[in-house]
């Protein structure tokens, strides 16, 4: 049982001109095996939330817990896929995918078997001895996803994993992620600024406001997705559905409305 729980999480960053409130009292419960996307404008603190779940950052106030235990640092129950891929440039595809297994002391023969299984699963056959710089962006992100998935983590944390990819590659990767998630369900926290991506992938979409980051609304997609069996359809057909368009428009309005309100609130403040 590995849910993620954010309770009263506030994050302040110290800067030269005093402290900046980045995240303001966020409460969020993510159930075991649930796929939750956090969607919001840049600077809303969504990546910081992910980093706190990963154990790379810590809240100023409140608690972050995974599987009921407070997060004190990175742990084997969680793995992260980064936006910039973060593959080690000096390791080959195989060495990158096997990195976590090696760190855990998995014997070489078993490691090789597991790595090759994911090489095949992620469509990387023939590139296993290439260095990351020899691969396209999409391939690099596949390696990064394989590197995290091979560890069979209870929780997968993904920070705008497709943000650096071109539109076509992005769509292919989104479909692949859905298939991977169905084959092997696990708790996923997915950070994105793309509304479409959030609606297409997630059971629940959490919409955040611009700094200070607060949860504005949580929108349940899962029931509709299952009822209409989105996963059996091509992404462009899903995106054409009334239900999808309805969700998308609603989230857009939330993001826009909030922005305009924030802009209006800032104008007199600037003058003062």
């Amino acid at each position: 049982m590995s849910g993620i729980s954010f309770k009263g999480v506030t994050k302040r960053f110290g800067g030269r001109d005093g402290e900046v409130l980045a995240i303001d009292r966020v409460d969020l419960e993510i159930a075991d095996k649930e796929f939750v996307a956090i969607c919001g404008p840049s600077g809303c603190g969504k990546t910081t939330l992910m980093r706190m779940a990963a154990g790379l950052d810590f809240p100023s106030e409140g608690t972050v817990a995974v599987g009921g235990k407070a997060v004190r640092g990175p742990g084997p129950d969680r793995a992260v896929v980064f936006q910039q891929f973060a593959l080690l440039p000096w390791k080959t595809v195989k060495e990158n995918i096997g990195f976590g297994l090696k760190c855990r002391g998995v014997p070489a023969a078993e490691r090789e078997r597991e790595v090759m299984r994911y090489v095949e699963l992620m469509g990387l056959t023939g590139h296993e001895n290439a260095y990351p710089h020899q691969l396209s962006g999409g391939m690099q992100q596949r390696v990064a996803i394989a590197r995290s998935s091979v560890l069979q983590p209870d929780v997968l944390l993904m920070d705008e994993p497709f943000g650096a990819l071109d539109a076509q590659t992005r769509v292919v990767m989104q479909e692949e992620l859905i298939h991977l998630a169905r084959r092997n369900p696990r708790t996923v926290l997915f950070i994105t600024h793309s509304v479409e991506e959030a609606v297409y992938l997630a059971d629940r979409v959490v919409v955040m406001s611009r700094r200070p980051g607060r949860i504005q609304e949580t929108i349940d997609i899962g029931a509709t997705r299952r009822a209409e069996n989105w996963e059996a359809q091509a992404i462009e057909d899903v995106m054409d559905r009334d239900s999808f368009i309805h969700f998308r428009t609603r989230i857009w309005k939330l993001l826009r409305h909030r922005d305009e309100a924030a802009a209006a609130a800032q104008r007199p403040a600037r003058r003062a």
């Binding site: 640092g73 990175p74 793995a79 992260v80 080690l88 000096w90 990195f99 760190c103 995290s148 560890l151």
Partner: protein, 259 residues
């Protein structure tokens, strides 16, 4: 790739060939540059023959080159063995850096050659003092570049390794060391250069053998041909060691994207 390499080699050869031709024309053919200013090719060749057999300044050519090469390599290896770990440790630990840096800052402005009198007092006129002096010159770039190399590693690599379970030792071995390696090699190249520069200077001050000794004796004998031979030998030996280091670098950093 092969074509580009061969074209580069051809251009390099042509440049050197043209310079040699100009040298011959200026000194031997036209006499624009007189023999008391700069030796002609024939005089230089005679000096080279003399250095080969019977020898000059206490030894024959292979002995003189071997002696200098040995000093440079020993000093360079010692400087790298001290400088690279020191720089990496400074990059890894702020506390260690705070401990070492003030000393480092104060010692750095002292030109390596200013250490020679002290080195002679401590080690005498033998190889010990020269190795000490060359080490002092060579270890500074090795240290600084290893330090900057560690400091400049993209934190995302460290984060990625940590979230996938790397321990501190694995972090150093699998992320920090390979990540710093390109700059470490930049430092080593500069160290090697510094080693050669300092060697010749150290041998000029006092030596029984070596290319610096050849230069010094030739200067006292007012023997321009031999001075030129000594300079060319230093240049060739320096270039050979630099190329050897570049080969080691290519083997050590196979992942580097071709530029």
């Amino acid at each position: 790739m092969a074509w580009r390499l061969s074209r580069r080699a051809a251009i390099g050869t042509a440049t050197i060939g043209a310079s040699l031709l100009a040298w011959w024309l200026l000194t031997a053919v036209t006499g624009i540059v007189g023999p008391q200013r700069f030796p002609s090719p024939a005089e230089t060749w005679a000096a080279l023959a003399q250095l080969w057999d019977p020898g000059y300044a206490g030894g024959r050519l292979p002995q003189q080159v071997y002696h200098s090469l040995r000093l440079v390599l020993l000093s360079f290896l010692a400087a790298s063995a001290i400088g690279v770990p020191l720089g990496m440790a400074m990059g890894l630990s702020r506390r260690f850096e705070a401990f070492i840096n003030p000393t480092f800052l104060l010692l750095r402005p002292i030109p390596p050659l200013a250490w020679i009198p002290l080195a002679i007092v401590w080690f005498g006129l033998g190889d010990g003092g020269k190795i000490f002096t060359i080490c002092l010159a060579a270890f500074v770039p090795a240290t600084i570049n290893a330090y900057v190399g560690v400091r400049n590693i993209d934190p995302i690599f460290l984060a990625a390794a940590r979230v996938h379970g790397a321990s501190s030792a694995q972090l150093v071995r699998d992320v920090i060391l390979p990540g710093a390696l390109p700059l470490i090699f930049t430092g080593l190249r500069l160290s090697l250069q510094a080693s050669w520069t300092t060697l010749v200077a150290a041998e000029l001050v006092g030596a029984f053998f070596g290319l610096g000794r050849v230069l010094n004796v030739a200067y006292q004998d007012i023997f321009p041909g031999m001075i030129l031979v000594g300079m060319v030998l230093v240049s060739l030996a320096g270039a050979a060691t630099t190329m050897a280091l570049a080969m080691v670098e290519r083997r050590a950093i196979p992942w580097r994207a071709p530029l």
